[in-house]
Assembly symmetry: C2
Homo-oligomer: 273 residues x 2
């Protein structure tokens, strides 16, 4: 049996404790001995970038990624340019916070033409790459589950994300493997292999039945059906030994005291990931 | 602009008016001038097969399919054999009702090992094919949306269904294209082309945002984001000119008077499909 992953790789994706400010989350990670954190932009916005940077530096935590850029498709060229400009700010934030990964949630289509929206995603990434590269930031395309194809992202399989990323060097554009989004895919293991050298993030949670909510319904690792260890082993076989983010969007977990959430996620990480 | 499909191809999938018995549904179709019906097995079970057959024959309706066989994966060999036996009864029902299509909803996994469950689906189909063929019934593998991978079916893309079906002749095993399940797939148009000669059903509804319920949340055609006409044109270009089933699982539509549902679905079929 494959061993548990080292606690040195554990990262709190900040959305898991969404009620915590960045300072509270950083202090919580330090108390729990969680060495990494993934920072969300709405938390940076609450206190500003320089204060955020100071909190991270004082805490001694490493930043596994900034969540999130993307959201490229829009009805007008002006709106699409605004999205590009906002992505540039996200890249600057990632660089300032000392991570080389900006997670891209690529966005939904403004109308029924999903193929056109996918083209807008490609165009947006192409525009961003030089800016990201000059800041030492890799754009990590995160495919979202197909049930979010209408309202969150038109990038819905790892195979699709791979094809998009392969237009660039691995330092420019990579992929983020989130088990919640990809576990069901009959091609997932071959697509993880194909992503060798390009995986810039690995996110864990679980898929519970019945799902309490299509958005805020992810489960704690071990509570659902996902073969977490098999997927973790697969990304390692594809060369990824970086941080493992626990990213759980779940109202009941948000309503639980943060320290308790971190204690549980540490246990489950050791037992199930 | 592509024209509307002929009303001669319109089929009421009986789950759309789930409160109606088979007799009520048949009479409703006749009143509305809907020439086809897809019959569900729980409706046959209410009154028996011979009575069901008489209702269909008296109505003059054509049966586009019987829903549904499948549900192959199970924890024990004995349970899997029970599923095979039940599928054989479904094949007999399809043949008796005068349709050559049994829709397969292949079933969820009994445990976390989704690859093993997919193997059980392949094994089940292999066991059924000779019996189905001897009854003149084609097994139609319907891939279900990935959000149902844990609780309804481990067959989740048209590409996967194609690969499974291609082990057999098109008369033995085909695929059913339901827009709700496949619309999001970046490969859907190439997989429809690949299914040429093997498509044995085309189901329409719509994907609405926000979805009121993960199971009972499908929309009426035109109320959502699916490019219905583009998909209909694609299946025609792949050689399918058979019946088009309206299959909407939606509590609000179930709570609407059946004649009203049929009137709306006829209008929407002409306008959007």
């Amino acid at each position: 049996m494959t061993q548990s992953p080292s606690i040195d790789r554990l990262s709190l994706n900040q959305i898991t404790t969404d009620r915590w400010s960045l300072r509270e989350a950083a202090e919580g990670c330090v108390r729990a001995g969680v060495p990494w954190i993934s920072v969300w932009r709405h938390k940076i916005a609450e206190i500003g970038l320089s204060e955020s940077k100071k909190i991270i530096q004082d805490s001694g935590l490493h930043v596994s990624s900034v969540c999130r850029g993307g959201m490229f498709p829009a009805a007008t060229a002006a709106e699409r340019q605004e999205r590009i400009d906002d992505n540039k700010r996200a890249i600057e934030e990632a660089a300032e916070l000392g991570t080389n990964v900006l997670v891209l949630v690529c966005g939904p289509s403004p109308d029924k033409d999903i193929a056109a929206a996918r083209g807008m995603v490609n165009d947006g990434i192409e525009q961003l790459v030089p800016f990201a590269e000059s800041h030492g930031v890799t754009l990590g395309i995160e495919p979202l589950h197909p049930m979010y194809a209408a309202d969150r992202s038109v990038v819905n399989t790892l195979g699709q994300a791979n094809r998009m990323a392969e237009n660039y060097t691995p330092n420019q554009v990579g992929v983020v493997v989130d088990v919640f989004h990809v576990w069901w895919d009959p091609n997932v293991y071959q697509d993880i292999q194909r992503a060798r050298g390009r995986i810039v993030g690995f996110h864990v949670s679980d898929w519970v039945v019945p799902m309490p909510d299509m958005f805020k319904g992810r489960g704690m690792m071990g509570d659902g059906v996902i073969e977490l260890r098999k997927l973790r082993t697969a990304v390692e076989e594809a060369g990824y030994y970086g941080p493992i983010e626990v990213e759980i969007i779940n109202q009941a977990i948000w309503d639980t005291q943060g320290d308790e959430v971190l204690a549980t996620m540490k246990d489950r990480y050791i037992e199930h990931v």
